[in-house]
Amino acid sequence: MNKLVSILCIATLLVACTRDKKTLVTNAFASQFAMPIMPIPANNLPSKDRIALGKYLFYNPALSKDSSVSCSSCHLPEHSFTDQRKFSIGSDKQLGTSNSPSLANIGFHPYFTRAGGVQSLEIQVLVPIQEHNEFNFNLLKIESRLLQDSYFKKMASQAYPSKEPYFAITASIAAFERTLVSNQSRFDQYIQGLSSLNEQERKGLELFFGSRTNCSQCHGGFNFTNYTFANNGATQIKNDSGRYQITHRKEDIGLFKVPSLRNIALTAPYMHDGSLNSLRSVLKSYNKGGNSTHFNNQTQIKKLHLNENELAQLEAFLHTLTDMNFVHNPKFKKQ
């Protein structure tokens, strides 16, 4: 069914393109990428103070045990909130065990972390705080440290009156994260009819949404992910990894959250273990039906028989998902 829809979309898209290069895409195709409604908990509706406090804390190393790292050490705005490292470095210089994911459009995600164990952005804040190779710390200890900080004290009581300061810490960071919306890439402008793609990019788009690659079956929709768990065969799988850590079910071994591909050109290295250094190496892996075989590899992962030219087209298309307004937005950067 999905396949049929995407084929139809592509078909209409092609018709539209040949008829008039300016009309570009059909409404049906464009509507898949309409920005969804962001779910926000009733006790943490956004306000200027909340977002400002969240941003202040996001960039604040006081959250880590040795005061050396902040959220932004691993989630840098200029790399769509990733850190260019295979594994991130946490408090006391401890090396992490997975690659830092992008936080672009994170507010739209229905769950968090690659194993899918975390239900809200508010609760997610507790993950790095307690992980030994991230902040290696404790929310109450952070709270007492921050209560020495007059700006924090003032803002916390202003933004969350009659709430505990520790509530203000988790809630405000989540409020800030929900502002990280990326929807002004060249692709977005293209589907709104505001700009055009060149020939190579358009061919890449057709491949991406077509049945030869199946990319959009997992990486479809506004955020270029369907938020399911899958094994794309890109890397060697450990026996206790991925979704299995939460479910303890054999069929979940090595299944990871399907990541968003927005700003993907800025977020290398790739995959949960940061094992692929470039987009080309990712595409090559898909082209040969995965770098590794595992009993949980998805059936969509198969040899694609794309030639070099087609790989370049796909790659060119992935570059159109880069949103320079997002990465340079002063609202997201440290003052």
């Binding site: 239900q119 609760i123 790095p128 705080i129 307690q130 404790n138 520790y166 509530f167 938020y227 079910r249």
Partner: protein
């Protein structure tokens, strides 16, 4: 205490109109006057409509009998609170084997492995007092974070409408609904609020049900840490008890032998297990099966033991699209039916016995539970609907 005085003691100003009308209503007065002061305070202070409601009443000059009916209705709605009730307490005798519990005691477990306990914390929740011929009095939203430090400890279970207590039931850990709540949203001092050391385990976004840590090995130079957690390990246990009357309160007495927590767990060379692995899960099972007994040495009598780890629900697809068919299978020979529970803990759907599919018409995160015809919970599963 006269009514007005009792009312005035509260920190809310009581609109005089309420007091006046209560006085005017004979039945309401009698019921209120018979009740204890707490209940009276409640009647006035928990103004369900806010004081403006009463002011409005006053100004619109409602017909008198309508008002009487209203007051009566209000009085009846508080009726359970006005019933005679008894203070119930739950007393624990904390032990290690035959000696009183204390931190850092050097002892041996049943495998003859030496150890000490340096940290012992666990949650008690879902407390149910079984009384008066099998009635169940559930303490809703009540959590105790146990951190034994001496030989005895008494928990106040509050004023309960019970006469003859027959058994006490409780669970170790936090129920699936609050297990995935945000700890930071609880006020300081609440058992589920953030703690240091933390009882919350970030990446599974759930609480440690039990944290036991200490030294082990014959020269106590090894470290063991068992942190048991996860929804599937949330067990209930029920112990028959006869409460003792103590100054008008009823005291339920249990022995808790923490040596049993480490029974059959090899700790000689240290073990660090956080989550739902082998020894951490075993420690939680020991908490259910052998740690707690009544003063006659009798332990859990619930035939419903743990949710069997070998039984799992398979749901497909997961996440599912809105209103799409979700296929369900359980690897159990018995027929099952399913309950769908939302994040607020409400059952939003219940299927017939033998069903293998269902549809959910609201996006969200759900827990699907499988029950046998005898209502035994056999497996649980998270389901996401997009």
């Amino acid at each position: 205490m006269p009514l007005q005085q009792a009312a005035a003691k509260g920190n809310h100003a009581i609109p005089s109109v309420v007091v006046k009308y209560v006085h005017a209503t004979a039945i309401a007065i009698r019921m209120v006057a018979n009740a204890d002061v707490n209940a009276v305070n409640k009647l006035y202070l928990v103004e369900p409509f806010g004081s403006t409601f009463f002011k409005t009443l006053n100004t619109i000059k409602m017909k008198k009998y309508t008002l009487y009916a209203l007051i009566l209705l209000m009085a009846f709605s508080w009726f359970p609170n006005l019933k005679a009730s008894t203070n119930v307490k739950l007393k624990f005798n904390h032990k290690i084997g035959s000696v009183n519990y204390a931190k850092n005691l050097q002892v041996k477990n049943n495998l003859d492995h030496d150890y000490t306990i340096t940290r012992l914390e666990y949650y008690i929740s879902n407390v149910i007092i079984i009384h008066d011929g099998g009635s169940m009095d559930t303490l809703k939203n009540t959590y105790f974070l146990m951190n034994p430090s001496g030989a005895t400890e008494t928990l106040d279970l509050g004023l309960r409408s019970v006469t003859n207590i027959e058994a006490i039931q409780f669970s170790i850990g936090v129920d699936p609904f609050n297990n995935h709540a945000n700890p930071a949203s609880f006020m300081a001092g609440h058992p589920l609020a953030p703690k240091s050391p933390s009882m919350h385990w970030g990446w599974t976004s759930g609480y440690r049900f039990l944290a036991i840590e200490g030294k082990s090995g014959s020269s106590l130079n090894q470290t063991y840490q068992l942190h048991g957690l996860w929804d599937a390990n949330y067990y209930s246990l029920r112990i028959p008890v006869a409460a003792i009357d103590d100054n008008g309160a009823k005291v339920i007495e249990l022995n808790a032998d923490y040596d049993k927590v480490l029974h059959d767990i090899s700790i000689n060379s240290g073990v660090i297990a956080h989550g739902d692995n082998t020894s951490d899960r075993k420690a939680l099972q020991n908490m259910r099966d052998s740690v707690f007994t009544n003063t006659n040495g009798q332990g859990d009598i619930l035939s419903i033991k743990a949710i069997d780890k070998s039984k799992t629900i398979l749901t497909y697809p997961n996440p599912a699209q809105l209103n799409a068919q979700i296929n369900l299978t359980v690897n159990s020979t018995e027929q099952v039916y399913y309950k769908v529970i939302n994040l607020k803990g409400a059952v939003i759907k219940q299927t017939l016995l033998g069903t293998t599919k269902l549809f959910i018409d609201k996006p969200g995160m759900y827990t699907i539970q499988a029950f046998t015809a005898a209502n035994t919970l056999v497996a649980m599963k998270r389901q996401i609907v997009l």
